[in-house]
């Protein structure tokens, strides 16, 4: 048995001993309290009850106060004195511990009270003779609080505030203080989205700390030699070598990529065909704007039922000012109708493109490479006459 248990057992034993023998469970009655009682007579009792009527007398004293308050509309500055004079009288009369004063009749005090009411009757005609001096409409504006003294009416453009402030204006002669501006940069972007699936699995640099500057250019350069005609077999034989080296992910490859990027930036565009659009793609809003502009002129009201069931794909080349090149408009394909119906549908589409593009479509000039050539599919399914 350890020491803790011994101490605990001793403590508990002592507590039990004190409970049993210390009187903790005894019901000991409290000692009787003795109070001295004094008998008084009926006269004394009446004398004691008499001071309770004093508040009624005080109430009579307060009666002049309401007329004083009634003068407030006429003179705003005097209204503040009314509560100050009334409050002390109320507090003095509210003291119940002055039976002598109550029991003693105080005619003078009552006489003073009776004299004041005539003075405080502004509605009387005699005193109203002074009223014509001021307009009955003159009265203070409504305000949440009463100012201690009359204040002048503020300027119309001045806003009400707790503190008076003078209007300030920027000093044109002073030199502008430039705020500190943190350096920012736009989020990185590219001309197309390249997913991980497009990159080789081992394309990530393993040793070089600097990322590859133009990995997509390397990836796009691969299939081009395969699609090129056989007229120039020499470059086609060299491209696979570049592909192999590009997938080795060595630091030398990164250096080549940097060199290629520099060469392109300096005007070397041999590796990029002219037909591939470059620059940022058109946003959805820009495409929608073009679509809405064309469809405003796409009049299918005079088309035959068969032509209304024919979808045509129309190709058009655009000039840089957004105007369609009329001679370039051609039908690339059709579906759903005969050749004659397709021809009718194409002519309606051509009219739409030319008419609404007469003043140039609103397309971003900086993205001209993206909308130099446009393929428009005219699908009249929603306009079809069943």
């Amino acid at each position: 048995m350890n020491t803790g248990q011994i101490i605990s057992g001793a403590g508990h034993a002592g507590l039990i001993f004190w409970a049993l023998f210390g009187g903790a469970f005894r019901d000991v009655p409290p000692p009787n309290e003795v109070t001295e009682v004094t008998a008084i007579s009926a006269d004394d009792f009446a004398a004691l009850m008499a001071p309770e009527q004093s508040p009624e007398a005080v109430a009579n004293v307060d009666t002049p106060e309401p007329p004083e308050a009634g003068e407030a509309p006429g003179m705003t500055s005097e209204a503040d004195a009314v509560p100050e004079t009334a409050q002390p009288e109320v507090t003095e009369s509210s003291e119940p511990d002055t039976p002598p004063e109550v029991t003693e009749p105080d005619p003078p005090a009552q006489a003073e009270v009776s004299e004041e009411p005539p003075v405080m009757q502004p509605p009387q005609e005699d005193t109203a003779a002074l009223v014509p001096d001021r307009s009955p409409d003159v009265r203070p504006r409504e305000a949440p609080r009463v100012a201690p003294e009359p204040v002048a009416q503020p300027e119309p453009d001045v806003q009400i505030d707790d503190v008076d402030q003078q209007e300030t204006a920027p000093d044109e002669s002073a030199e502008p203080v430039e705020e500190d501006q943190e350096e920012t940069a736009r989020q990185e972007a590219t001309t197309e989205i390249v997913t991980e699936a497009d990159d080789p699995a081992d394309a990530a640099p393993s040793r070089s700390l600097r990322p590859r500057p133009r990995p997509t250019r390397q990836a796009e350069a691969e299939p081009e030699p395969e699609t090129q005609p056989q007229d120039d077999p020499q470059p086609a034989a060299q491209e696979p070598e570049q592909t192999e080296t590009a997938t080795q992910q060595s630091p030398e490859v990164d250096e080549n990529a940097v060199e290629n990027a520099l060469a392109e930036a300096l005007g070397g565009s041999d590796t990029q065909p002219d037909s591939t659009p470059s620059g940022p793609p058109l946003t959805t809003g820009e495409k929608e704007g073009l679509r809405v502009a064309v469809q405003q002129c796409w009049n299918v009201g005079s088309l035959s039922s068969e032509a209304l069931a024919t979808t045509v794909v129309v190709g058009v080349s655009m000039s840089e000012d957004g105007r369609p090149i009329t001679a370039s408009i051609k039908m690339l394909g059709s579906s759903g109708g005969s050749n004659s119906a397709a021809q009718q549908a194409f002519e309606a589409a051509r009219r739409a493109i030319i008419r609404c593009g007469a003043d140039g479509y609103k397309l971003p000039p900086e993205k001209y490479d993206q909308w130099r050539d446009i393929e428009m599919t005219f699908n009249p399914e929603k306009m079809r006459i069943k």
Binding site: E192, I193, P277, L303, E375, N379, M383
Partner: protein
């Protein structure tokens, strides 16, 4: 960890196609799809045709006005008035200044020239231009006719323009046979009449001594079938349009024959025959007058109309309790009901295109002209009035003409036409009341 990797893999699989599509869309030209356009009349200009001779100036102006009237009447075109023209066509062979016509938003331009030759012949040449494309649409044509037939020449020109611009078959150079009506309703006099499709050149084929009903053109447009009460009972007659000669086609004693219609071959006629209080469909060879019974039911079968290929016919029957539309083989057989809407259906007519059936429908106290597919689907009501009935198709199957009667004892009957889209409802001018129209095929 495995869960996170699986989640990333799933997200990648979902996003990969979209990203690949974006990548694909970035290649090649910009592609957009136009799915909604506008439906409005095509603005065009037709300056007065150039008269090569002084004698031709009268015809030049008249012909150009009829061409414009035909095109405007379709509701598909809107003529730009001559007052708004910037340029003048003074030489038919001179090049067209398209910029002048673009400025007034003329999307099509019709130019023409007229000259007269000896023996009352008129030669009309015309060209059609796509103004905004800056090129001629098709080849220019030259038509030759007589001075008396100048309106037909104009209709031919308009037909060519209409077909080139819309792709539809033409229908302006056609005629309509109808029942001309005079007098109040309780004492109305009726006679057969024929006119151009636009109400011009009205000619009466019969007198008003007997009641005539339901004339029907032959497929060649040279004959007309109709029902006459000349004998006191309804009888079917066939009338030659050119000679106005006629003969009775069906005259069995104790019977009533009515509602005739030609088969597409022009040699067979189907009609209704009432015998013993029962009405059935019969067919007859015109040459041999031999009839064949097509239906045998206690109900009323009437108003037959052949399909364009002549293999089937649509007719009206009340075998289900109310008049409805049925289709059966041309030689008779099992009929299939195609109308199931509320109301009564009658006077069905098969479209020349073969895709639609026009009909009269009575529903909720009003009459309608409507169309439906040959299987009864896609029913569309085109008109609504106190009394619309008797539809007939234009030769191209794009326009329907019918008769409309106004309410009251003094109500009149007139002809109306409407596009199958339900637009361009308009009255066909006639010198008097008119009903029961039948549109002829395109004239040769």
């Amino acid at each position: 960890m495995r869960y996170v990797l699986s989640l990333l893999a799933a997200l990648f699989m979902l996003a990969a196609p979209a990203l690949a599509q974006d990548t694909a869309e970035s290649d090649g030209p910009l592609r957009i799809e136009i799915t909604e356009g506008v439906i409005e009349p095509l603005p065009y200009a037709v300056p007065s045709f150039v008269a090569d001779t002084a004698a031709a100036s009268e015809w030049a102006d008249k012909i150009s006005r009829v061409v414009a009237s035909d095109l405007n009447g379709t509701g598909l075109f809107r003529e730009i008035p001559a007052e708004a023209h910037i340029a003048r066509i003074s030489n038919f062979s001179s090049p067209v200044q398209f910029s002048d016509w673009k400025a007034i938003n003329a999307q099509a331009l019709i130019t023409g020239a007229v000259r007269t030759e000896g023996s009352g012949r008129i030669v009309v040449s015309f060209r059609l231009y796509d103004v905004f494309a800056g090129q001629e649409m098709g080849q220019g044509l030259q038509l030759v006719g007589t001075e008396q037939g100048w309106r037909r020449i104009a209709h031919k020109v308009a037909d060519q323009v209409y077909s080139r611009l819309t792709g539809e078959d033409p229908y302006f150079d056609s005629r309509v046979v109808f029942v001309s009506e005079d007098g109040p309703k309780d004492a109305r006099q009726k006679r057969l009449a024929i006119m151009d499709y636009d109400g011009a050149n009205v000619t009466y084929l019969t007198d008003n001594s007997s009641l005539v009903l339901a004339p029907r053109f032959s497929p060649q447009g040279d004959q007309v079938l109709y029902t006459s009460y000349e004998s006191g009972f309804p009888r079917i007659y066939v009338l030659n349009v050119e000679t106005v000669g006629r003969r009775v086609l069906e005259s069995q004693d104790g019977t009533m024959s009515f509602a005739p219609r030609f088969a597409p071959d022009g040699q067979t006629v189907v009609y209704s025959l009432t015998r013993g209080g029962n009405t059935d469909l019969y067919s007859m060879q015109i040459g041999s007058s031999q009839s064949t019974r097509l239906t045998n039911a206690p109900s009323i079968e009437t108003a037959p109309s052949f399909s364009p290929d002549g293999s089937r016919m649509v007719f009206e029957s009340d075998r289900s309790g109310t008049p409805q539309l049925y289709i059966m083989p041309a030689g008779g057989g099992e009929a299939q009901r195609i109308s199931f809407g509320q109301g009564r259906y009658g006077t069905p007519v098969w479209s020349p295109r073969g895709d639609l059936i026009a009909f009269t429908k009575q529903s909720k106290g009003r009459f309608h002209i409507g169309v439906m597919r040959t299987d009864g689907s896609e029913e569309r009501l085109l008109t609504a009035s106190f009394l619309d009935e008797g539809p007939t198709w234009a030769p191209n199957g794009r326009v329907i003409m019918f008769s409309r009667e106004t309410q009251g004892a003094q109500g009149s009957t007139s002809l109306y036409s409407v596009d199958i889209t339900g637009r361009n409802l308009k009255q066909v001018p006639t010198p008097s009341g008119a009903s029961d129209p039948s549109w002829s095929p395109l004239q040769k």
